[in-house]
Subunit: 369 residues, 2 copies
């Protein structure tokens, strides 16, 4: 008897724990993990693993939060902090999710997986698969920066580059998984991957013991960090370990803004040929759209869209003024913060935190504009 | 009155603290920092800063140490740990030294610096200079991987690429500093930079409270991490906070092995045209040679040289078996460990730690062989 079940986020139907089901068989919505018992000892917060002490780790998490005074002034807020998620072992926040998902896959005896990614998740899954001795197939758009494609291959995953937009890579991965009967370890759908993201919230609560940030501003594509952080803050609140959940905000590129549109009850259709330098957050049809909007609304947050010029301007500003080399998708959060401050949604006196989700080293020089 | 002085490592002559003197005026040897009083409160261990609480930080240090069982088996030791120094904010261990050196430069009101580097130190100094609002000139060999050259520029430093081997870049930096009367902030010579490296030892003692590693194996070029770690272990031992200092070992590339030669009392002359993929440790005339040999001998350590084939084999092994993408200079330490275990200098039952000094993302694909 497992100490958790998989519950549908749409209709609350319960599903037996397996690594092969990612969506509700009744309504098609994504699944979440619901704890039903104390679970094994050894982890301060509950985790969906039978043997947490034996979980895979490459040293992910425990990333520093640093003050960013110059960026704060430029964005229009007095207190700005960056949580350096690019300090994770493969250079992006995805490692939190990969560690948990791959640990669960090991517990379930899975020996081969398929994943699709715009780059960072693919590299992360490839690294943890290497560590676990699991074979990995990673499907990525052929427009992915070369440094990211190379990183996926370096760890030993089989790389499949797919022509066309991000969605084509996802479709190809699903076809491959079905035809070969291989587990589809989707970072966008796996409830285990999302569960791994909760540690972001746990660390924020430890790093800001006196005064929690009033706002956390996320760059959002599939939204795993936003949703995972929300779940983490909720878990802390349920245990009485958090006085207040920060307002969570989503920033998207103008070319791929379904979450921002949904938040403002606007229709959104991907424009033909629309592209953004922020490939890491270029997701036209995120499967967890509704959960993201719910997280924004429940916390009193909001959404913003930003253009490539502003993204690249912030990427330069973070490097030249703060000494932080963020990838363009990560810089988008700061451009979005500036927009939210300009609109008065975030006030000058508010304390703001933004994750720096990925390392600029992962992008080819062309992305620098 | 400063709470520390600069003491010559050769003749023990004392020098007034300034950012412009890097070598003893009497004998030409490098300087070290000697504490003469309790110093300001706020830091658990002494630091050469007047205001430690105001020190520059980009979140450097506190890097994870992880078990590397597959690499241990391949190297011939049962317990192998990697300390992931590439998790530092610019992707290499240099950030420990840059944070301390640039903090001291800020305290001394320095507004412009010159540095020479094979890449990592240049990027690190460039990032901390950006954070400090200090103008930086970085001199690097034109053979430096493009990703490293780009990273130096991204943070805003003025990049000067110099034809020829590493030594030419150093000579050009010194000429530039003298002709412009700019501070030469040499990571190879600055006693402040070395002082910043001591935190590596402090963290090791905290991360291995039960049993310290028997050996720490360093990839060595200018040797700042080796020397700094040695000083850190010594400082802990003086305070009674360390039962035993691990044996410290130096690994060098065959093409640039002055430290290994000196350790074994062999002559060493750089072979005409000799090169290595491990550019980060390719230093023909390290100014702190004697201190390195002293650290090896005092701790019961040793030295080894490794060829490019073994370096590249270990780079692949770490990625494909451990999920760790090390740059080639970092992989050299593991190749050296294998050599030391083969020679019986390190025994199968010994616990070994090696820093993974730099991120593989910093190298161009060509370096992968």
């Amino acid at each position: 008897m497992s100490h958790f079940v998989l519950t549908c986020t749409g209709c609350d139907a319960e599903h037996t724990v397996t690594m092969r089901v990612l969506e509700c068989s009744a309504c098609g919505c994504p699944l979440r993990i619901d704890y039903r018992g104390a679970g094994p000892a050894g982890a301060p917060m509950q985790v969906p693993l039978r043997r947490p002490a034996a979980a895979l780790t490459l040293g992910e998490g425990n990333t520093p939060s640093i003050a960013m005074p110059a960026a704060g002034i430029a964005a229009g807020v007095e207190q700005l902090y960056g949580k350096l998620e690019f300090s994770n072992p493969t250079g992006s926040f995805k490692d939190r999710g990969s560690a948990m998902m791959m640990s669960a896959l090991v517990e379930h005896g899975v020996g081969e997986v398929v994943e699709d990614s715009s780059g960072n998740a693919g590299a992360s899954v490839s690294a943890y698969a290497a560590r676990a001795g699991i074979s990995a197939h990673v499907f990525a758009p052929d427009s992915t920066p070369k440094a990211k494609l190379r990183q996926i291959s370096v760890y030993g995953a089989t790389l499949h580059t797919i022509e066309g937009p991000r969605e084509e890579a996802a479709a190809a991965a699903i076809r491959f998984a079905e035809s070969r009967n291989v587990v589809y370890a989707s970072h966008a759908l796996s409830p285990f991957f999302l569960e791994g993201m909760k540690s972001f919230a746990y660390e924020v609560s430890e790093q800001f013991p006196g005064r929690m940030p009033d706002h956390v501003v996320f760059p959002v594509g599939n939204g795993s960090l936003l949703i995972g952080a929300y779940m983490g803050f909720e878990a802390l609140a349920e245990r009485g370990r958090l006085s207040r959940t920060p307002a969570l905000h989503a920033v998207q590129a103008e070319a791929a803004a379904p979450v921002a549109a949904a938040f403002y009850d606007q229709p959104w259709i991907k424009a033909e040929g629309a592209r953004t330098v922020a490939g890491g957050i270029s997701v036209a049809e995120p499967p967890q759209l509704h959960r993201m909007v719910q997280a924004l609304r429940a916390t009193g947050g909001s959404a913003a869209t930003v253009g490539d010029d502003d993204i690249l301007r912030w990427q330069r500003l973070l490097a030249e003024r703060e000494g932080i080399f963020a990838e363009s998708s990560a810089a988008a959060a700061f451009a979005g913060l500036e927009a939210l401050a300009t609109r008065g949604i975030i006030s000058p006196g508010d304390a703001v935190l933004a994750p720096v989700t990925g390392f600029g080293l992962k992008e080819s020089p062309a992305a620098q504009g």
